[in-house]
Symmetry: C2
Amino acid sequence: MSPSVAIGLSAVVVAVKDGEAVALTVRPEDQRTHEASALRGLPSGPFDPVEHRTFELALRDFVTEQTGFELGYVEQLYTFGDKGRGSPRAELGGRVDQAARVVSIGYLALTPRAAEIAMPGAAWVPWPRAFPWEDWRQGRPSVLDAVIGPQLKAWAAARPEPAAALARARLLFALDGATWNEERVLDRFELLYEAGLAAEAERDQARARGEDAGEPAGYSPALGEPMVSDHRRILATGLARLRGKIKYRPVVFELMPSEFTLSELQRTVEAISGLPLHKPNFRRVVERTALVEGLGRQRVETGGRPAELFRFRRELLNARPVSGLALPALRDG
Amino acid sequence: MSPSVAIGLSAVVVAVKDGEAVALTVRPEDQRTHEASALRGLPSGPFDPVEHRTFELALRDFVTEQTGFELGYVEQLYTFGDKGRGSPRAELGGRVDQAARVVSIGYLALTPRAAEIAMPGAAWVPWPRAFPWEDWRQGRPSVLDAVIGPQLKAWAAARPEPAAALARARLLFALDGATWNEERVLDRFELLYEAGLAAEAERDQARARGEDAGEPAGYSPALGEPMVSDHRRILATGLARLRGKIKYRPVVFELMPSEFTLSELQRTVEAISGLPLHKPNFRRVVERTALVEGLGRQRVETGGRPAELFRFRRELLNARPVSGLALPALRDG
DNA sequence: TCAAAAGTGTTATCCTTACACCCATGT
DNA sequence: ACATGGGTGTAAGGATAACACTTTTGA
């Protein structure tokens, strides 16, 4: 008979707040000290096959328990099961069982209401704090050429196949004139982890040596704030999925309130994609899809000319095939 | 402490053989009779957290043990865990444990070598046998209007919200002039299951009532051949993923031998997508991507003018961002 | 010579991108 | 008047879809 496997469920809950894409985080209890962890984590919990009918229902319960927040749109991301790689050591269920292995299933949730949270420890955190190199809205982030590029090149040079490693780094991080692909968030994080530039890598290596170090204490802000366990990897998976999906399914609207202006919609897409968009062309892209409908009313508090309010025509979803929004990028501004 | 959860790994192994997309299947042992099952299933097995280092390695072992076949390209599809819905009742590991719950992780594997298989019970099966309505290469399948359309309409009319159910059926199955979207394989299968038109639905309902019926015996060929457990659902998930991915990543080439003609490439894309393509435009699509390179040599056994041989320029993969192949469809032929 | 399959040319149309510009409000 | 953000016009270039057509083999 096979040894038991514990299943952990984690949620990347995304919202947009004041033009910033934010994710819901908690301060989990540290397994050794039983105090609140120094690092943040995603809302998560152990799946109980007797109590819970489906993964999704269990996940919704965890998030509400830990953050007071109720989920709307939810989709499964990926199931992580490798040994090492930031995978937790059977930390779930309140009991540490050395024989058990933890498998974590990541989920992506979207919500239009980035409400204030009363729950202690729970907080919305802008994702650029975890991935500073992913935000190109104000132009190419300087961290790429100042920190990441040189370190990755040094790492690549010491590899068995330096040319291939260098090509991969160049392609993913848009070094030496390569073009940026905003979707490859996960590949970039995994390369940084592999190269030892993610703070979690050192912690996991220490654990693999049996040193059972705590969570990483110090880290370089340029390389992003680390998270508990493999949660930053799950966050990267969620952001990658969302950046891809926004282009071929109308998921942005899950992040919008019932009424919004086209500029608000654009700022949301920009916050998610991390790219600056061309305003006139973005408007036409939106209009061509016919996914929104003008309400004839206006928002006045814009700082300039009043903007028309729109709503998402959700009823189209089961009336005809609907695609997402193309991203008419702005040349380097 | 949480009750144990067993993890099952299943593989959708896809190849193209004589212009037909085929999947690797086995005849699993029936849990009650201990004889070979009447229905086919996917290669699969229980994940052992002690023995196996990663899911993927375990999966490769299972497939080789059960079919004699070695996998190349592999990616994770989805993790299925609902109660009911064709989910197996702790059938894994040779022991039936009523308290345990089985979670199955589906994988997609692609291979250029649909070699003959010696292993007893293992066989390549064309996927149109599981999903006859998915093959539009010879035009709109008649089963849509003859069988599926009327039955779905009758089902929709008896629902709480007939209009929404009808709209969903029309959209997914291209009824009443709606356009066909070849990617939505899973949504279509799930609708058929929900409407009781998939043979597995009746079996699962009987089981839920505690009748523990065997696998479905008779079934309508027009509605596809059922599979063991939830394997037809996993197969649908794999086909859906592949049909989508073929357009934005160069995965078709994982199904091609090292040298091929453009017509062979086209027949492969057609077999996967289930759509007839426009030959001249397909050639130009391929040439524009610059993903293939002419070899100057020719294949003579074409039945007509000899065709130039090409190879996939795999070295481009880590040299620049590469997209997949657009599908220049042929109007109804 | 004809069938069969490979392969090329060309056009109308649509979408994308970029640039220039006008409009309505607050101070 | 002018700053600020909302909103429109338009033309060049590229991708797509559809049509007609030529080329090279085997029977």
